[in-house]
Symmetry: D2
Subunit: 217 residues, 4 copies
């Protein structure tokens, strides 16, 4: 299974972005049946989606996992849903700070991830790695890119796609008193496990590709 | 303008629910051009939407504001978006605890509120009342009801509708050490101001009824 | 019983300090057997203690309760202990920012309050007012003044004395997103109840005046 | 320099205590001029101090660092002060839950640590390890033991002594959603660095042994 794994460049004055630290270390590696291709995205509204689309066309992956930094969160957060809403508290790396505008004027309000959220969280927790389901990817470039990804793929795609937020690295947290952090090695192991779940799934699980949870059983 | 204001019955062992304390005090009152009708909803998946629909048919309101309790939040939270996802951490008042199932199997992933979110928050903050925009209404009966409301009204409705979460009352917070609270009088004043914004808007603002933010200007 | 109640002037860019808002409203009033005298202290290392001592000499109170603002706390906090340590994260109102220096070079490491901490907290909680015991009054002018008070009174004094931190007012919290607040009326009621406990105690409770908790029973 | 490093046995239903995980890994090792002796203390009021005293007599260390678990804290916390107060929110490992009683009926209100708090924090932060000064070691067995240690040593001792709280391990945090954690390797490195500061200091720093901060310069 070809998996595109993306990370972002640093923003908000940080010198490093753990999402790209993880993605770059898995680039061109094989993780439990997943051949990983990595791409670094600019932390810029608009440009991040353009860059992601180019990568999608180049690599034609069967699964896409975008990673982003969530400063202050204590766990690896598997995002449920991408909102059609840009609403930034801080400027992006080009100085843009959109407020209450849609990512795609003609797009639906939201897309659900097609990653197996609960299976990933369960696997990480069982391995002793803090993980959680998140219901909001925020209003910044992370959510923007996630929405752009799901919108580009569309409802009918067989490509599994989603977004995972990772905590600060310890060396970042030293400048954010009281904020949680996670060692790069731990985050890396967590993302590898998420890929393992994806890799296993292609053989054993009937995939839902509808972009929302399965119907009430 | 006829406004339907709903609150919930207490849940999770609480003796009171601030959402209904507020709604019941505004029942049958006129607030800045809004004639308020109040309805108390059961904190029960399924039944809450059924009860809300009955009220919608009975009152035929021009605006609907559902209120709910958000224990631990420090501010009045105007919710941006209703997700098509039930995922409860605790049982509802009938013992139901759905996990990862849609509110409406055939509904879209989400609906945006059609309340003027930013205008309401701005008015409350200017009046010294803590208020915020929230991007997730959770996975419990609040989000469930909010989604059911927006789905029932549909995309083309002229009815403004949304959900507002309110903090614990101080007398609830005494049993939740460290959790924020808000006096009933303050919350009540905040909701009255939200209704004022709605009441004023019917005369002065071109309404967007598309269920998502306006296009990039 | 003559009670001296102090509050501080605003600091850190705030326009108001809830501690003085409360103290000034109880000035020259009688609360359940307590005749309240109020004094406003400067938020300045050194000067706050000098000002407090002058007030102690003028009023010769039988009990002293210093109030201070604790931005971000959700409850009225009865402080356990004053530390002989100034360590400020921000400058005081004269620009002083001491780091790791003692309040009194020849004083002991700490003094315990002689207020009936648990009785006060119990009374407030029973009345539905969020209250808590705190084990640190911080490193700023509040702790500094508290220590200066206890040191001035000395171990053998019959004067009951202590420090109570109060939350932001709602109108302050609007500029501190996510921070808890408490209505002035609620805080005022809480402090009145603390005075009631003091007023009742003079008739019914054998006082410990040792400046530390009673011995193991 | 002979350093006694203690950790606690697990409590509150945990299967592991990071404080002992760290201490046991440094047992009988030499860290930058410190010869480390490690002792595991019971998480029991009274017994922890008795056990610590026995170790003090056996090892006659020149410095003592007690480690404890602070679930939920995001950084390695160097404790400033030990209070003469037991006040437990949960039972200890023998079912004891003291409330508002002194550790030592005839002891002073508090003892300051004699560890070089700021130097340790500075070194850890410079190395990218989250660290902070804490002004309260709580009311449980950690503070109890810390107070017992300082009281036993007395004001005139040349032995440097103090207490350091460490965060949950990631595998503990998986059962405490939202709580911060720190990898064992990171915590271990942080404690080694604290020992390095102690080891260096014996050669270069005039020691204060008064049990409180130096006088105003």
């Amino acid at each position: 299974m070809r998996v595109l794994l993306t990370g972002f460049e640093p923003f908000a004055g940080e010198l490093v972005n753990p999402s790209w630290e993880v993605a770059s270390r898995l680039a061109d590696r094989r993780v439990s049946g997943c051949a990983v291709m990595a791409e670094r995205l600019p932390t810029v509204f608009g440009a991040s989606i353009a860059c992601l689309r180019t990568a999608l066309e180049r690599y034609r992956p069967q699964a896409v996992v975008c990673l982003g930094e969530a400063g202050g969160r204590a766990a690896i957060s598997i995002e449920r849903v991408a909102l059609n809403l840009d609403e930034a508290r801080i400027p992006d790396n080009k100085g843009q700070q959109p407020v209450e505008i849609p990512v795609e004027p003609d797009g639906p309000a939201a897309y659900f991830t097609t990653l197996p959220v609960r299976a990933i969280v369960a696997k990480l927790l069982a391995a002793g790695i803090p993980a959680e389901i998140s219901r909001t990817a925020g209003g910044f470039v992370c959510n923007h890119t996630f929405y752009g990804l799901m919108h580009h793929l569309g409802q009918a795609t067989p490509v599994r796609a989603g977004f995972i937020h990772v905590p600060y690295l310890p060396e970042q947290a030293v400048r954010h008193p009281g904020k949680a952090s996670m060692e790069l090695a731990t985050t890396l192991r967590g993302i590898e496990m998420a890929l393992e779940v994806l890799g296993l799934e292609q053989f054993s699980v009937a995939q839902t590709t509808t972009g929302r949870p399965a119907t009430r059983q």
